[in-house]
């Protein structure tokens, strides 16, 4: 093979590890055999190389023999690689010139034939000599970190992440596309399993986020695009015109009174109405009115202009324009939340056409004291208090055929809560829950579920509902009780569907702009399913809350805090330090075929279309080498594990 630099002086230290190695491998013979091997300037054996005198021997020998690479033939590199790298550093040798030849775990401990084990040790060491003579001295890659974070999404996850990062001492931009922060949680009535009022625990968090000196709240803003890389992102943010000056607005509500345009109220899931100029809900943060241009008569004083005329503070201006500005951040937390699967997709359940068949969030609003019925349970069609309510779990979940194959995780608990709260408010009413399995893994969850049945006398029927239809003023539910084998029919007053959780509507576009990876359902993909659950595959991006998959409030908050802690890890360094054993590109050899780009899970490689070569962002490269194996021209070579090194190691192992 070409390119062997025989000028290097390599030292070999064969460890006895007491009798652990020396009992099987003839260490003296090994050390002696290596003395004559090309590139080896010095070879010895020692009883415990990892001991202090052993390390001192290495340091002294490196200096004395002017070694520029060493092999320690000893135990697994997972144990003492760092130890010997440090010793070498003390002797003035670059740590990347150290190789560990594993002749204990992978040789002396697993073989009994001394002759064969000795021969194998020789092969292993020779291979590492071949590698060492070709090793480059490397320095960790350093890059400056912009210690400022962007959090996308102002629900509970985004708020928690923003608060934690800000409390760590870093500045945070919290971007929310809606007029107020609060997300889905602020819409909830009471939360399982403690039944504390969602607004009571959420509102203080929202206020805290708005008052925090290091959080810049950007409501009614959207992220337009992101460029750059970890530590150095450039973010373009769109400010949507609110047409109301949030500072001047004193919430007198005069504008709302005169506005002639009536619009379904999103906060109440369309169960009530708002005006075109509105405050999403009384505790909205920031506390200001917003003019919804889509439903306004035209932002035109000639056509209407009533709100502007009546505003004493002169807070309303029809001239506000959309603006776009750029910010620099070092880390991005994505907390874009979820939506409920559309009932339209379930034709057999009426496909949204039956007014008294509603989804879980609509029922939350009906239960909420601040909701459209002021907390009295009334059904949407005629406002009657329903005397029998059917709850249908797994609506659109766990269906591999037409809907969503996964379990939406929170529905078992919130359905139990719904049924319980219904029974608390309508004690003479009947609550029936149709379920397939009840999953209550969580602290105090199963006890809550049992209470729903035992104390509140909710009837749980095991079977999936096949059909729901309107008959007169009743809603008929066709199900089965698989436990008794009886086909059942319920004439209910109202039906609540526990609709599947799906990725937030429209979030796909945003994620494409961020170039952040998702799974096939559109949930954010984590860097490692077990070991890196709050980081994205894309360095510098962190995941929080339901954007990553269905989860309940404590889990979302925990993940948000974990994401914030990870951001803190990143920001604790002034400079990012990254393993230099990455795969750069030899531009002379690169033909720009871009095969390596498709191999890279980290988007570290991009095509420079002008020059027709691939360029590598070494900070993003994790050094797996998949691209190097795929590169047809040999332009992609992993540092200190080049093809040349692998070939020469193979030769040594097979012929040595």
């Amino acid at each position: 093979m070409k390119g062997q630099k025989k000028t290097k002086r390599i030292g070999v230290f064969v460890c006895h590890c007491g009798v652990n190695i020396a009992g099987v491998v003839d260490v003296e013979k090994v050390a002696k055999t290596l003395t004559d091997y090309p590139g080896v300037a010095f070879s010895t054996n020692y009883i415990y190389v990892c001991s202090d005198p052993g390390q001192q021997m290495i340091i002294d020998t490196i200096k004395e023999k002017k070694l520029d690479g060493i092999i320690v033939a000893a135990c697994s590199p997972t144990l003492h690689e760092k130890t010997f790298q440090e010793a070498a550093r003390l002797a003035g040798l670059n740590p990347y010139q150290i190789e560990i030849a594993n002749i204990r775990e992978q040789d002396s401990w697993v073989h009994v034939d001394k002759d064969k084990a000795t021969k194998k040790a020789v092969k292993i060491i020779k291979a590492h000599v071949e590698k060492a003579v070709r090793n480059e001295s490397l320095e960790p890659i350093k890059v400056e970190v912009h210690r400022r974070a962007l959090v996308i999404g102002g629900g509970i996850s985004g708020i928690q992440a923003a608060l934690d990062i800000a409390d760590h001492g870093y500045e945070v931009l919290l971007v929310e596309k809606n007029p107020s922060i609060g997300g889905k949680m602020i819409q909830l009535s009471e939360t399982f399993p403690t039944l504390d009022c969602s607004q009571c625990i959420m509102t203080p968090k929202m206020v805290e986020a708005s008052r925090h000196p290091r959080i810049k709240l950007l409501t009614y803003h959207e992220v337009e695009s992101v460029s750059g890389f970890v530590g150095n992102f450039k973010v373009r943010i769109k400010k949507k015109p609110r047409y109301v000056d949030a500072v001047l607005c004193n919430l007198c509500a005069e504008c709302e009174k005169v506005c002639p345009q009536i619009v379904p109220d999103e906060f109440n899931m369309g169960l009530s109405f708002r005006k075109a100029i509105y405050m999403p809900f009384p505790q909205a943060v920031p506390g200001t009115y917003t003019l919804d241009a889509e439903h306004c008569l035209g932002l035109n004083p000639v056509r209407c202009g009533k709100c502007k005329d009546v505003c004493e503070k002169k807070a309303i201006s029809y001239e506000m324009q959309e603006t776009i500005f750029e910010e620099e951040v070092g880390a991005i937390v994505v907390a874009t939340g979820y939506d409920l699967y559309s009932m339209q997709a379930l034709g057999e359940y009426g496909g949204e056409k039956i007014p008294d068949v509603i989804n879980g969030l609509e029922f939350e609003r009906i239960l909420s004291a601040s909701g459209p019925t002021a907390g009295i349970i009334r059904r949407p069609s005629d406002g009657k208090v329903p005397k029998s309510v059917v709850f249908v779990q797994c609506s659109g979940s766990r269906d591999t055929e037409k809907h969503n194959p996964y379990c939406s995780k929170i529905c078992c608990m919130y359905t139990a809560k719904h049924a319980m709260l219904y029974k608390h408010r309508v004690p003479d009413g009947q609550a029936i829950v149709f379920y397939i399995d009840v999953r209550t893994g969580g602290k105090a969850f199963d006890e809550f579920y049992q209470r729903t049945i035992e104390e509140d006398k909710v009837l749980y029927i095991r079977g999936k509902v096949s059909k729901i239809f309107k008959d007169g003023d009743k809603v008929v539910v066709w199900g089965v009780d698989t436990l008794t084998g009886k086909k059942v029919e319920v004439e209910a007053d109202m039906v609540v569907l526990a609709m599947a959780m799906v990725k937030a509507e429209g979030v796909g576009d945003l994620l494409r702009k961020l170039k952040i990876q998702t799974d096939i359902h559109g949930w954010l993909a984590e860097a490692h399913p077990k070991l890196r659950p709050v980081e994205s595959l894309n360095a510098g991006f962190y995941l929080a809350g339901c954007a990553h998959g269905p989860k309940d409030i404590p889990e979302a908050v925990a993940q948000a805090s974990a994401a914030a802690a990870k951001v803190g890890d990143l920001f604790a360094q002034k400079e990012l330090s990254h393993e230099p054993t990455v795969v750069p590109v030899d531009e002379d050899k690169c033909s720009g075929c871009a095969i390596c780009i498709t191999m890279c899970p980290y988007q570290a490689r991009t095509l420079d279309t002008e020059r027709g070569v691939v360029v590598v962002n070494e900070i993003l490269c994790e050094g797996c080498g998949a691209c190097a194996a795929a590169c047809p021209s040999g332009a992609a070579q992993q540092r200190n594990q080049t093809d040349d090194q692998i070939f020469s190691m193979v030769t040594a192992m097979m012929k040595g």
């Binding site: 999936k464 066709w478 089965v480 084998g485 086909k487």
Partner: protein
């Protein structure tokens, strides 16, 4: 009597035959019961559709083969269209019918069409019935 669950080659063969004939994976069923909930004739059945597939999963061939249900299914495919796992129950029913003793009596043969109806029944009824429910 306690039913003894067996796992021998005979049981496996029965399950495999049902899967082979129907082209459906009976183990894909997680027993939600939706097929029974929507079935237009489930109330007449001694074994509900979801129980048919459950008995096949358990390898209890005799219980399935002796059930009236096999001759009540009208292949309307309501269960198929709503099954969350995309299992075509009508095919499972037909596969089990296929495994009945070929020398056994027809559940419904041409001779059983009431003579007073013979002149008025659409042809398709007679053909379909005999195809479905006789050997």
């Amino acid at each position: 009597m306690r039913v003894k669950l067996k796992a021998g080659p005979e049981v496996r063969k029965f399950i495999e035959r049902v899967e082979e004939l129907s082209g459906e994976n009976v183990y894909a069923c997680y027993q939600c019961g939706r097929c029974s909930a929507g079935c237009p004739v489930a109330s007449e059945m001694d074994v509900l559709p979801n129980q048919v597939i459950r008995l096949v999963q358990m390898g209890l061939a005799e219980d399935v083969l002796h059930s009236k249900t096999l001759f009540l299914c009208a292949s309307c495919f309501t269960c198929q269209s709503r099954c969350p796992k995309g299992i075509d129950m009508a095919r499972v029913m037909e596969a089990v019918r296929h495994l009945l003793d070929p020398k056994g009596a027809d559940a419904f043969g041409p001779g059983e069409i009431p003579p007073d109806l013979a002149n008025e029944l659409p042809q398709q009824v007679m053909v379909a019935l005999c195809r479905k429910f006789s050997k």
